[in-house]
Symmetry: C3
Subunit: 318 residues, 3 copies
């Protein structure tokens, strides 16, 4: 866990500059980076017992964004009560820290299988990809040439299947389900190991690609904390590192340009996954415009016990 080394971290999400911190009691907070007083960066702030204190004039904020102290103001001043900075709810699961930046009421944090297991060894890799999130996420729906490829809609998004040998391939039977809008799960239903990919929009031209891998070992052997690695996308000469499948994907999506010209593409029959996802995205945006909730907003704890990979029935249905 990265915050163990340094309890304050700059984070940019959805084009908002934020600061994530853990206070001395261990509570997490995610605040606007700029101090409400005179806009100095809270990345240089100091965690206190409760909250984060700005290094400039010492204003102290708690995780709700409330200002608890203004040392320069006269005794008895109520000025601090008028201050409320941007703050987002933060939650920890499986060694990762999640936040919700949307409208109230806050939904449940989806409990994907690899995050819920409490007996795992694993790691998380992060890479900043200099292109927009959609371009990056569509790499999940654009398979390399295989014997056979198939894309299916399911209740949570799209399943991509590809056959390397035969119908017994895990990549064919279970496939790689993507959970709308930006999560992918890999592994087998009820399996002993798995991985999950999160594609987090930093801003219109940058995306945080997060790959989290976990294997169930035993509660005795389980890691106390999950290590995090910053994985570079390019080498020192600025060339893409194409030794790994993810590196190859990054080359492909970034070399398209920051925001590629969709009108210049030529989509074929094998691009059904791309088309399916784009249609799904438009459909879900229309739902939101009508005031409805999009796919995968969890509010019922019973349905959020554990989100596993979808099992396929013998007749090929999910």
């Amino acid at each position: 866990m990265e915050l163990e080394r340094n309890p304050v971290k700059a984070v940019k999400l959805l084009a908002e500059s934020l600061v994530l911190f853990r206070d001395k009691r261990g509570h997490l907070g995610l605040l606007a980076e700029a101090c409400a007083h005179r806009r100095a960066s809270l990345v240089y702030g100091i965690p206190e017992n409760e909250g984060l204190r700005c290094a400039y004039h010492g204003w102290l904020y708690n995780a709700e964004g409330r200002c608890l102290d203004q040392p320069g103001e006269p005794a008895g001043s109520t000025f601090k009560n008028q201050i409320k900075t941007t703050a987002y709810p933060v939650q920890e699961l499986g060694g990762l820290i999640f936040s919700y930046l949307g409208p109230e009421p806050v939904p449940l944090l989806p409990r994907y299988n690899v995050l819920v297991w409490d007996d795992v060894a694993g790691e998380t890799n992060g890479t900043v990809i200099p292109c927009n999130w959609l371009q990056e996420f569509l790499a999940r729906h654009a398979p390399s040439p295989m014997k056979k490829v198939r894309f299916d809609l399911f209740e949570h998004g799209i399943i991509e299947r590809h056959m390397i040998n035969n119908e017994e391939d895990e990549s064919w039977r279970t496939g790689a389900p993507s959970f709308f809008p930006t999560t992918s799960l890999l592994g087998s239903p009820g399996g002993k190991s798995g991985s999950i990919i999160f594609v987090a929009p930093i801003d219109d031209t940058h995306t945080w690609f997060l790959l989290h891998m976990a294997s169930r070992v035993s509660q005795l052997a389980a890691q106390e904390s999950i290590p995090f690695f910053d994985v570079p996308g390019v080498d020192e000469a600025g060339k893409f590192i194409t030794d790994t499948a993810n590196g190859q994907d990054h080359m492909a999506v970034v070399s398209q340009g920051n925001i590629t010209g969709r009108d210049l593409e030529h989509l074929g029959a094998s691009d059904r996954g791309i088309i399916l996802y784009r249609e799904l995205l438009v459909e879900q945006m229309e739902r939101v415009e009508r005031g409805e909730e999009p796919m995968n907003v969890y509010r019922d704890p019973a349905k959020n016990h554990i989100i596993d990979l979808p099992a396929i029935t013998p007749d090929g249905r999910i």
Copy 2:
């Protein structure tokens, strides 16, 4: 003195690209960087006995911007007499070089105490700060939390006082006077050492922070020339260096952004210095608009003998 190492130096001030040089007689000049002939940079120019010669086609300019020679033109040509490039008056004081970029008539160069002393050892530090000059200069009027803080207008600008122990503190009795618009003096009236800060606008988003420190030693021990150091604002990883008070200030003002959103601030009682300075700035701009001269334009040599720190009277008045 920097020009001893290299007698030609690129300088950007008020968004103008200029070249400072010392010719072989020792005279200083400050010219537009682009040669009037074909716009090559005079930073690569060669100082001659009188003036600076462009390395491209050899046009020679004196410190008044007049073209003295055009080697490629026919003998007897008067073309050079038509050429006059931008040139600003330059003056040396206390080991520093000053220029005046405003309208005529040129006022006197203010003779601040540490610059006038001729028996000093000291040094000058310079840091390029990537934000606008006002944001940087306001750091002078925004003290860290202290026992007691006070800001007073005086005839040359604003005095900031803060108490660490009691009323005998130098920081309370003398305080830190800032001379409108962008100069600060530190030390004690008639003292043996002092320092001066100049905040020079490079362009709208860059500021040259200059700290000059001098201690009176004796004419025998005095330095022949004042060393100049480029002090970085950030370390190799791009993080602010916050081990020094000035480094902390730079972090605070730069992390606000290049030009911060003043409308997003929340000023309290302790921010009286910020408000005072902004009011003073507006008032002085209005004076200039009415055709009057702003504060601190020195024209009477008698009043410019030596500008010392203001002495405070026993009843607390200046």
Copy 3:
């Protein structure tokens, strides 16, 4: 030859991002960098027996830009026949690779002397100059102060002559002819060695300066391939390298700015070369606007046998 090390190379010309490759048969191709399928960069493509295959989904293009294979599409699909990507004709001469990006019909590749000789030892140097091509090429018409300088129009462009000692100087008798629009030849007519400069526009603010030098040795001693060197324009501190004549020119033209303000120049009698070339450029653009061909479009092989330096007659005419 650079492609020997890596058979695929990114090239930007006239603001078009392209990819140059040599396939396994040895044929050259120059294609749009972005794959027509989903815009991934073909710089990461793999040369095949015929053509270049995109590393993303395996589309294969030949040198004419035709799509030969789409492995993901169903057997029997004719989708590939609809795909035609941008492709330009490429030709090799004297160890250099040339392309033509203009309208049809494709003219002949000019056969300049140093490129035609087949018994040479030499090298090619390339430098990317961060300014527009015209500014860079005008350095060819702006001599340093000399005893005497003269510019003459001739049937292919402009000859610059300068005298160092007397009328027997090669630089006076033959001079440096520039072939409209962006080529310069140096040496002597029918000589044993020579050099040629190509100024290739990368985009509006970048120019590829290519200097090719060749000496006739003997067919036995001739090089099998001409080495290519990337010559930096600036040192590690970002200062221009002014130890060479070309480095000095680069300093002069780049320090003028990316696209310099021509209206801020002051041209004298010695700038006749600059004026001549600008007039020639306007005149040739007007020809093209009228639907005529500009200077130096070769269509008759007889006139393109070998383009040598113009010989000067005893009475000083060409």
